[in-house]
């Protein structure tokens, strides 16, 4: 068969153009890359680049860090594929860098790419999807907790919606009764708690609460009370669902049920429904007593002060104590979410930003101290449990403004009631070391100096 000369010429031209494009792509894929030590097609140790970036971030050299992470991402894509899970650590780090730099357009770009990647992974590889969703969820929460970010609510809602999508994917894959759903459902409950701290500060919830995109839902903004009521009802429903999941499983036990009952009771107390909370605390205590749990274990469960809501879902046994050397150590999460503690695993490999501002306080915990609870608990006959006789022992730096801020922030904390023999008891002389959130505004203090 004879091929016409012009066809051969056309084919050669096409091959030449294709080679030219691929070479050009290889050269321009890393904008501004001045390093000659590697090329995109050589599977060099991208982890080394990420370690370099980590060091650069910790020393505040964000631009250099971003360059290293972009390089490593490019190498990962070329060597492991566009849909490779190896991108997760690099994506996490580059997004954290954007948050640290307050570069919101870049943050949105990285988050959108991560979402796209997860959307591609979900049908084929559920485990990779879930591990990526966990990382992305933490990134959304970090963005929501940044007090410089103008769209806190938007990121918080995006985190919640991602959690829901993960739950839907798990229901389809593992069934609606899978115990693996429990921590994800609890994370949604926690997000609702964070949402209420934002809602309490707003008259009406904006469209941010209903959409991940800036779409205005006309005439359907919820009032503050409607939004709080909705969060309460969703939290309650999900906690009851977690309880049912465990009750119907092989993991069912008295201690698991008591643990989940405590979470439900905490939820009631957080929303000012003290009487039902007290009944549930007693029920949890009684169920453990009936299961012949010894007194020493009951003390571990109920006789230590604990901040609510509990930061993570632990199905069995009492929560590890937060105190060391008889002092309760607390690190506030963010100025955006007063009274909330740092969720575990939020920062990944990155060291959390620290603050030198802290205070040591002494306080008592008493029941029916209405003034320290949420605004819903106004009826005097409603059971409540809160702080009294709060005094600041010392603060760093030694300044009245720090003491005053510590007083107001510690007063926002909510404690689980202490129980002995199924009766709520007061606790006195609790020592608490409170470290302020890194983004707490102490500019007045600096200005005064």
């Amino acid at each position: 068969m004879r091929i016409p000369a012009h066809r051969i010429l056309l084919l050669l031209t096409a091959v030449y153009v294709a080679c030219g494009i691929s070479v050009a792509f290889a050269q321009t894929a890393i904008p501004g890359n001045s390093q000659d030590s590697f090329d995109n097609f050589r599977p060099i140790d991208y982890e080394r680049l990420l370690e370099t970036a980590l060091v650069a971030i910790e020393s505040g050299e964000f631009e250099s860090a971003r360059q290293s992470i972009s390089d490593s991402l490019q190498i990962i894509k070329v060597n492991h594929g566009l849909l490779s899970v190896e991108q997760f650590p690099a994506l996490q780090l580059i997004t954290q860098t954007a948050i640290a730099q307050h570069d919101w357009p870049a943050l949105d770009q990285h988050l959108a790419y991560f979402e796209w990647l997860l959307g591609k992974l979900e049908p084929a590889d559920i485990e990779s999807y879930l591990s990526g969703a966990e990382i992305l969820n933490n990134l959304y929460l970090s963005a929501a907790a940044d007090s410089n970010n103008p769209q806190n609510a938007h990121y918080l809602i995006a985190a919640k919606q991602l959690n829901w999508r993960a739950v839907t994917a798990m229901e389809q894959r593992f069934g609606k009764t899978s115990l693996r759903l429990a921590p994800w459902l609890y994370d949604i409950v926690l997000t609702h708690y964070y949402q209420t701290t934002l809602t309490r500060r707003k008259g009406m919830t904006s469209y941010d609460y209903k959409s991940t995109t800036p779409v205005i839902v006309s005439g359907w903004s919820l009032s503050k009370n409607e939004s709080l009521e909705q969060s309460y009802s969703i939290g309650q429903e999900l906690l009851q669902r977690i309880r049912a999941l465990y009750a119907d499983s092989t993991a069912a036990s008295a201690s698991t049920d008591a643990q989940i009952l405590l979470l439900i009771a905490d939820w009631e107390l957080l929303f000012g429904k003290g009487n039902s909370a007290e009944a549930l605390y007693r029920m949890a205590y009684a169920s453990l007593q009936q299961a012949n749990v010894d007194k020493a274990t009951l003390l571990t469960w109920f006789a230590q002060p604990l901040i609510i809501p509990q930061r993570e879902f632990i199905a069995s046994g009492p929560v590890p104590p937060q105190r060391s050397n008889a002092t309760l150590n607390l690190i506030a999460w963010s100025a955006v979410f007063p009274g909330a503690l740092q969720p575990p695993g939020l920062a990944g490999n990155l060291a959390l930003p620290t603050t030198k501002f802290s205070a040591t306080a002494r306080l008592n915990l008493v029941s029916n101290n209405v003034s320290t609870l949420s605004s819903n608990a106004i009826a005097p006959n409603v059971f409540s449990y809160g702080i009294s006789n709060l005094s600041i022992e010392s603060m760093t730096p030694d300044n009245e403004l720090v003491a005053s801020m510590a007083r107001s922030q510690i007063a926002e904390l909510q404690f689980r009631p202490l129980l002995i023999d199924a009766t709520v008891i007061a606790a006195s002389d609790i020592r608490l070391h409170y470290v302020f959130a890194a983004d707490t505004d102490f500019s007045m203090l600096t200005d005064a100096k």
Binding site: Q161, R165, T168, K210, V215, V217, G219, W220, E226, I234
Partner: protein, 91 residues
């Protein structure tokens, strides 16, 4: 005897009259309104226009609040329609 007969007629008639007050097809079960959590889960997986918003409303002719759920798309269309009607009536 007459009183007794009247009472008997009343006892028999009242349920019949009450049954007549029911709307046609009322014996069919009303569709279950989804819970807040179910709505939130659904909304997380669909496009913004396909989302559902639910809230308690007091319907005309009653003082009992009822939970109503609507598609965002429908809410938007109704709002646009009402705005258009208002504009027409003003001009």
């Amino acid at each position: 005897m007459c009183k007794l007969l009247r009472l008997l007629v009343m006892v028999l008639l009242v349920p019949v009259l009450l049954a007549g007050c029911l709307a046609p097809g009322a014996e069919s079960v009303e569709p279950r309104v989804p819970t807040d959590a179910e709505v939130e889960q659904y909304n997380a997986s669909v496009a913004p226009a396909e989302r559902i918003v639910c809230r308690r409303e007091i319907p005309v002719g009653s003082n009992i609040p009822k939970r109503l759920c609507r598609l965002v798309k429908d809410v938007e269309e109704t709002s646009t329609f009402h705005r258009e009607q208002l504009r027409r009536s003003l001009h």
